[in-house]
Symmetry: C2
Subunit: 319 residues, 2 copies
């Protein structure tokens, strides 16, 4: 390739700001950032990334407030929350040409469907990010732990192998310092990520607790493990094997991790919508369709729906 | 009977203040109230009861700060929370003679055991109160809805029938205006009460919500019903039949009820211990022993243990 690969970062927050920032800062990619509330701040003061891999400031990133102003790109990376997907049709229409790949890095299950409906499943890749990163201020990202992305083809026609375009994308990301791992089976990757997201995102909001508080409590850590087993059961019903060792590793890694407020907890505290359907509703429904009842996850799902709806209605909690 | 039946009210709060107050105010009983924090207030200003059945003020009730000062009585009524049962041996030793009956009106399952260990199972009755009543200030009770007590013999030797002493007790309570219903099977009464307590007490604390907020939410009311079904399953395993109609009645009654903060929510907000073991741990363990796994209730149990322990440790929530 003579010219750099061009990227559109849809949502320049904890994920998009970090990975897009690394692609731009390393000089590997020609990166175009879509921003909303932080546009003016980043336009004037740049994008600031504090990362365990090294801090940097992008002084004049290519930033856009409207997708209509963005160029067509080679790769569009969907980084915002699924709750913002109403904006996806306009954004993808703007940045996608016929050969644009869409990489969906959102959390949840079957959340590539929105992009697939717009650009066709064969143009969609999905990935899961295993990292602790928060946006701590406008245009200011703090990446405190981990950082790996596991990704794969979304289209059932292409799933099951590591395609050349995946290999190329992985190579580029790695040149930018990102631990980018191609996976043959995206769905299993998603289930393995849900093993973390379902208990920790859910309980962090419901119990108002960070990962340390959850793991330090015998009750909450036992509940975490039993929720992970419920995810394992749901995954198995849907054809994805999650090994016991993965559960133990997630528990062990989180126990060793710096105390971390999940992104769902931060969203909830900030009064933003929480991703209840992507992370809880979709997996429960998919498993049920496959004959598995996610009994414990259902409890968290209903609790989070209650909390999310109360928040959306802007009703003050009784407290 | 030539003289009035004498009663010791152990714990003069939402329950003990109301029922003990009605027994005294009606002139039916010779009532002796044990108080702790409210002693001086009630001693000087009386016991104030606002009730849907009629307001009254007991201007000079017989009040005690220490069980040692109390007389032996015919009936000792345990009204304080199970979390205060450390004080039970001293209190029962003080007020119980060889023929004293102990009526345990606490919430939960197998919570008569503490009293039975002290005075013998054959002297213990248990009862469940179906009412909305709160202590809203020192010596000040507000009874806003319902009021029925269902009670029965605790000893397996006497269970299964309505004994003469039960009939006599029921008659006296009714003379005092209390809807007191003898039941042949105390354990089934307890399970039927747990059908209410487990979802509403649990969810009110976890979601910080009153009964109205829970029932107005499709998510939380669906969760409530599924928790009730889990209680039904646990009860069945333990030999107690809870009919579907009972579940529907509990849901319907609560929907029609004035918005109510469960006693567990009030305890939690006030920083007092919550009755996690009596209401959640004991039923779960009893059902498990009988071969039934209370999967959904377990989630609430672990969540409440976390919240209760955080509170007990006096750690500030992360919020």
């Amino acid at each position: 390739m003579s010219r750099k690969t061009s990227y559109a970062i849809l949502g320049t927050g904890a994920l998009g700001g970090l990975y897009g920032g690394m692609l731009a800062n390393s000089g590997v990619g020609d990166v175009h950032f879509l921003l909303r509330s932080d546009f003016q701040q980043v336009k004037s003061a740049g994008l600031r990334v504090e990362s365990i891999g090294g801090d940097f400031l992008l002084t004049s990133p290519q930033v856009y407030q409207s997708p209509a102003d963005m160029p067509k790109v080679d790769v569009a990376i969907v980084c915002w929350k699924t709750t913002a997907n109403d904006a996806l049709p306009e954004a993808l229409a703007a940045v996608c040409g016929p050969r644009t790949l869409v990489l969906v890095l959102q959390n949840g299950y079957q959340i590539e469907e929105d992009a697939a409906r717009i650009v066709g499943a064969e143009n969609v890749l999905g990935g899961c990010c295993f990292l602790c990163s928060n946006k701590i201020g406008p245009g200011h990202i703090r990446h405190i732990d981990y950082g790996r992305i596991a990704f794969g083809e979304y289209s059932p026609k292409l799933a099951g192998s590591i395609t050349p375009r995946m290999q190329q994308l992985a190579d580029e990301f790695r040149q930018a310092g990102i631990d980018m791992q191609p996976a043959e089976d995206l769905q299993t990757v998603r289930w393995r990520k849900l093993v973390w997201n379902i208990p920790y995102n859910g309980l962090s909001v419901i119990l108002q607790a960070d990962t340390r508080a959850i793991m330090d409590s015998p009750a909450a850590s036992a509940l975490t493990e039993s929720l992970m087993r419920d995810v394992q059961g749901a995954a198995a019903a849907c054809g994805s094997a999650v090994e016991d060792e993965h559960i133990q590793k997630m528990l062990g890694d989180t126990r060793k991790m710096v105390p971390y407020d999940s992104s769902m907890l931060l969203d909830y505290r900030a009064g933003r919508p929480i991703e209840v359907e992507a992370i809880f509703g979709n997996p429960i429904r998919a498993a049920l369709k496959a004959g598995y009842r996610s009994t414990k996850i259902e409890v968290l799902y209903e609790q989070l729906r209650f909390l999310g709806e109360r928040q959306t209605r802007n009703l003050t909690p009784v407290t």
